[in-house]
């Protein structure tokens, strides 16, 4: 196993809210190896976006880390000074956001922003940065980049903006690119194009990519490995083929059963997982999925599930899974 470039170790994080705290991430463990594409899947509210934000140290002011570490090349970034952490952003770890419509400042040109976004690139003149941005726009498939640099974001289509956002993220050749729902705001054709582009760029630049999405099709298309999250925990981690062909955690099985793309028979209604997400202000003592799980036994409700290692790259957080 190669050394991880970015690893999340036993990270627990909570949001302070009036009258208590929401435990959004609970003992999350995840390693991203150089050059791999890791997918983080899960339904809305499972903590996947918070995890992505934590990796680049962008959690809001009300977020509080209660334990754990985020290591970039072995060094805990949360122990660095605020300035040192800021210098890593964009240069070592870059991010592409969900909504390309609002990701850019409306009052500055794309070019001005792409130059600004190379703030942490030392030893480059403004002209160098402009050239680099121009080249990167061409690389992500924007025709006439010189012209595009002088345009404002609202003059771009959604797809073009997401291309520009990806170009921005790659400007400083980061070791890790985090994409939070990069295709959710786009239509299907655009989604396919962006996925294709990400795969191409990954091959060219060899950076590790973390894709956060609730769209299982995107993960199947793009990822090497998948981490499935539920209620703030990684419940199953596996190579993508293994996960799709042989899901082991009951939640993963239920999730895949609900994917419209995998349903073969016409039934007139979409399957869904019964029940609701647990209230993370008071996380349950046992397995968070137990109340919705068909295989749950008495101990699932009372004892925290163990992490069962299923193979060199596989594990599941469940009482009922046998190695």
């Amino acid at each position: 196993m190669t050394e991880a470039i970015l690893s999340v170790e036993n990270l627990s994080l909570r949001y302070r809210v009036p009258g208590g705290a929401v435990h959004v991430l609970r003992d999350v463990r995840l390693a991203i190896r150089p050059g791999e594409v890791l997918g983080i899947a899960g339904e809305s509210g499972c903590g996947k976006s918070t995890l992505a934000a934590a990796m680049i140290d962008l959690t809001g002011a009300n977020a509080e880390r209660t334990s754990g570490a985020i290591r970039l090349r072995g060094e805990d970034i949360l122990h660095l000074s605020a300035d040192d952490r800021r210098r890593l952003r964009g240069a070592e770890v870059a991010m592409v956001f969900q909504d390309p419509m609002t990701a850019f400042s409306p009052v500055l040109t794309i070019g001005a922003q792409l130059v600004d976004f190379q703030f942490n690139r030392t030893g480059a003149s403004r002209r160098d940065k402009w050239q680099a941005a121009c080249g990167m726009l061409a690389r992500v498939g924007i025709s006439d980049p010189d012209h595009a640099m002088r345009r404002f974001p609202h003059e771009f289509s959604g797809g073009m903006r997401q291309r520009a956002a990806i170009a921005a993220a790659l400007l400083m050749r980061p070791a890790v690119l985090i994409a939070d729902e990069p295709t959710t705001a786009l239509d299907v054709t655009m989604e396919a194009q962006i996925i294709h582009l990400l795969r191409e760029l990954q091959a060219d630049y060899g950076c590790a990519i973390v894709i956060v999405t609730h769209h299982l099709g995107v993960i199947a298309e793009l990822c090497d490995r998948v981490a499935v999250m539920y209620a703030g925990q990684v419940v199953e981690e596996a190579p993508v083929d293994d996960l799709y062909h042989d899901p082991r955690h009951p939640y993963t099985q239920a999730l895949l059963a609900c994917d419209p793309a995998r349903i073969e028979e016409r039934s007139g209604r979409l399957p869904a997982i019964g029940g609701r997400l647990p209230d993370l202000r008071t996380p349950p003592p046992g397995c968070a999925f137990a109340p919705r799980c068909s295989k749950a036994t008495a101990r699932c409700l009372t004892d925290a599930p163990p992490r069962v290692v299923l193979g060199p790259d596989r594990s599941a957080l469940c009482h009922e899974v046998a190695p």
């Binding site: 800021r86 991010m95 400042s105 500055l108 600004d116 609202h154």
Partner: protein
């Protein structure tokens, strides 16, 4: 942009005409005959009739209105029988004083207000932010003429640093600037607090937007994020307000001009109203309305320049 500009200017002209008609209606509804007031209780009817004729008050009302509009268009605002000078001459003599006062007051208030507002956001939710909040609200609540009186008392009477009254010696810029400091201070104080609150609220809203998160995600320093990415967007509503602000500052300048005995439009209007000197009142109001509309329209056009989204919305 051109179509937008034409639309805005056309609207300004319509407003101007409406204001003038309303003014005229008011002058004829308010009791008091200017001629008898001017000549005193012992004037003969013949004398009054002569003065009315000279002021053009013997003509039919609609004819007077038409006459006024026609001359106003050619830049003639009428003749003041009291001072025996054209009205426009008087306005042009006094207006620069008021404008300089208004611009100076708004200028320092704007600079300090934006700085305090941005500082409150950089230090948000700390004791500094709360202190700035209390100070701002305190400044808003103090009337300009109260500040004026205390400013005179402290800086002119006790400390003798600055002159208490007047606009300085004409032709001596140093004395004019010294005479400007206290009135501009008194007039701007309330606006500092107001602008600081406005900029803070507007900036806080912008700081929650996604593009701010993007700028942070690329490791831009927080001050740069606030000033370049936040303030650029947050300043837009402030500029719109500023134009309205200049209008209201010019009207509250009346008090400050009175307290400081400073010649200006405020003193001109109050004097004219007391004497029922209609040509001067009408001319001054028309001039001030036109100026105000000019500023507001210019601000709208400036916003269209600053915000490319507004600019393009009108291009189509």
């Amino acid at each position: 942009m051109l179509r937008y500009a034409i639309k805005r200017i056309a609207l300004a002209v319509v407003i101007l005409v409406t204001v003038m008609l309303a003014m005229y209606a008011m002058v004829f509804l308010v009791p008091g005959d200017p001629a008898s007031l001017a000549l005193g209780p012992r004037a003969t009817p013949e004398l009054k009739a002569l003065l009315r004729e000279r002021m053009g008050l013997d003509e039919p009302i609609l004819w007077q209105v038409w006459h006024f509009f026609r001359s106003a268009l050619t830049g003639d605002l009428g003749y003041d029988v009291w001072s025996k000078r054209p009205v426009l001459d008087q306005i042009l003599e006094f207006f620069p004083n008021t404008l300089i006062l208004g611009v100076a007051a708004l200028g320092w208030a704007l600079a300090l207000g934006i700085a305090l507002g941005a500082a409150a956001v950089v230090w948000r939710d700390t004791w500094a932010d709360r202190l700035l909040g209390v100070v701002s609200v305190g400044l808003i609540s103090v009337p300009a003429f109260v500040v004026a009186i205390y400013a005179i008392l402290i800086f002119a009477v006790w400390l003798r640093w600055l002159p208490a009254i007047g606009a300085g010696t004409p032709g001596d810029p140093a004395s004019q600037i010294r005479a400007l400091i206290l009135p501009a201070f008194a007039l701007g104080v309330g606006w500092v607090g107001y602008l600081a609150r406005l900029v803070r609220a507007s900036l806080l809203e912008v700081m929650g937007e996604n593009h701010i998160r993007t700028a942070r995600a690329f490791g831009l320093p927080e001050t740069r994020v606030v000033l370049r990415y936040g303030l650029r967007v947050a300043i837009i509503p402030t500029i719109a307000l500023l134009a309205v602000g200049l209008g209201s500052i010019l009207s509250s300048a009346v008090f400050v001009e009175t307290v400081f005995g400073r010649p200006g439009i405020g003193t001109l209007i109050t004097g004219a109203v007391q004497k029922r000197n209609y040509p001067v009142v009408m001319g001054t109001v028309l001039f001030m309305t036109a100026f105000y509309l000019f500023i507001v329209t210019a601000a709208d056009l400036l916003i269209a320049r600053l915000d490319p989204r507004v600019r393009d919305a009108f291009r189509r």
